[in-house]
Amino acid sequence: MRATLERASPVRAGRSLSRPQLIKAAITAALLLFVLLGLPQLMSLYYIDTMTQVAVYSMVAVGLGVLVGRVGLVSLGQVAVLAIGAWVAARLLFATTQPYPLVLLEAGLITMVLGVVIGLPALRLRGLYLALITLMLAGAITVVLATVNFPNGGHGFLGYNGSLVHIPPIRRPSIAASDPAYFRYSVVVAIVMFALVLAHIKTRPGRAWAAIRQSEPAALAAGINTWFYKLWAFALASFITGVAGGVLAGAVHYLYSIDFPTQDSITLLAVVLMGGVYSLWGAVVAALLYQFLPALLNNWGVSADWLIILFGVGVLQVLTTAPAGLADQVPRDLARLGRFLRRQATRQPAATQGSTK
């Protein structure tokens, strides 16, 4: 038996793309162009703000996807990591006049260092125990943030002005001051972060993560320094989440610790599992479920609390019928439906012909 060939190996990057890959790339490019240029024209400001949040949380989700889907490390602390990124960015934006992209980079790097510290237990723990430890750390971070508060333009190291008067908003980049422009800015940052993840998955770290996820002994036997690559995964996820925090800071203008409850990390993991941890599209689906769906329900006057039940059922559905998530299941089922409809369509004329004879 000759096994089916799949072209474009990661190791052979630079080769020409196959036809299906070209089509996929063209569809992705068209979709991104529509999101950047068309979508802001079609939506109200309410939904533009919502979609900015979708862009932010798609970055958080893609970071969590790296940990859960690529390396098999379950972290329940990502919303707290996001809060750290937002805190650092807010502090830098108030305290300095640095350009926004530089602030995002710094927020990402500082969060990355803290994320590596959070990831240290991952060197010895997996599964439920790692999830518990990261959840506890997230809880601790939330408590610290509630105590010191988010920077709001005040003086001192913390930059917090307790008098609550004349609180300046967190600034945005000059090229993206309006909501539609900031939405576009957020999408561009998200694209860069997704590209960063893709560059990792398709190269040496991606292969090492795949080995660690399937079998740590096999990874060690292949000469992979497993603790280094696990920490690398935490570093990458934290960097991306830190950058997302920086984007969030500019999006909302005012940050409060109450916006980052610990339990949100659990909901985030649920939507990431639903969206699909093995594909980048899964992160987009997860962010839509996490941010767009509640906004939609709010607009319709339905309580977003119903989503907790919906997400519970959704996770159950995905875990039992589609481990690769909705990003894999929906296109597959749609293709199956298309094939079924085509079969029906070709059968019907044949049946009609048969009856007239």
């Binding site: 096994a3 060939l5 799949e6 190996s9 190791v11 292949a222 000469g223």
Partner: protein, 239 residues
């Protein structure tokens, strides 16, 4: 050459290897014994997954036990597993390339070395573009992927843990042919653990026998398989 001296491994109160002293000279050497005899434990010690309670292992003059486990692979300790562990989601090429890229050999020779290793093992994929995902392959082919991972680049010590388990005769015979050629191709010392005595006889000039963690015989394979203690402890009187 591997010199094992006084190697002892204990799991709690259970002694898995008891004062094992043995030298594996060159070529392909067999290591046999009943289940639980300590064969895989010995491999795990060499790979660095298990820390022995006592003893030393010198491989080609190097103190193997002093090296971190992932560094041993870079040094040249390669292995396959009793339960096959080829990475399912990666292609055949990437599975083998992954070992090469962590062996410190540099990227220039990588593609050539990887294709050589795949061609050497005779995996049934396009030899110029082995991009089939491992999950699409059958059990025998996946075993060969593991062997290709073990022989790519510059292995010095290749540990094969029951590579023929569950394979039909035809695939076992192909595997035997591949295993026999490994020392000649790579210069590595091969240690083969298997319960298939025809495979061990076909591949190994010398064989050692473990029973309850103790070495009970070693020497030329044909003589070892006729040894009374070995027959009593492992092979049975029908052999």
């Amino acid at each position: 050459m591997i010199e094992v001296d006084g190697l002892t491994v204990r799991y709690g109160g259970v002694t898995s290897l008891a004062d094992m002293s043995l030298t594996f000279e060159q070529g392909t050497c067999g290591l046999i014994g009943p289940n639980g005899a300590g064969k895989t434990t010995f491999f795990n010690v060499l790979s660095g997954f298990v820390r022995p309670a006592a003893g030393t292992v010198r491989a080609f003059g190097t103190d193997l036990l002093a090296m971190a486990h992932f560094r041993r692979a870079r040094w040249g300790v390669r292995r396959t597993f009793q339960t096959e562990q080829a990475i399912e989601e990666l292609s055949v090429f990437d599975n083998v390339a992954m070992v090469h890229e962590h062996s410190g050999l540099g990227g220039k020779s990588r593609r050539g070395d990887v294709l050589d290793a795949i061609a050497f093992t005779g995996i049934d994929v396009d030899p110029e573009s082995p991009e089939a995902k491992v999950r699409t392959l059958g059990a025998g082919q996946r075993r060969l992927v593991e062997v290709a991972r073990a022989v790519v680049g510059r292995p010095r010590l290749v540990l094969l843990d029951e590579p023929a388990a569950g394979l039909p005769d035809e695939e076992t015979s192909h595997l035997a042919d591949v295993i026999r050629r490994i020392p000649e191709r790579t210069g590595a010392l091969v240690i083969l653990v298997d319960h298939d005595m025809s495979l061990v006889s076909a591949c190994c000039a010398t064989t050692a026998v473990l029973d309850f963690g103790r070495l009970i015989a070693s020497g030329p394979t044909a003589a070892v398989l006729r040894d009374d203690d070995v027959i009593r402890a492992y092979l049975g009187v029908d052999q």
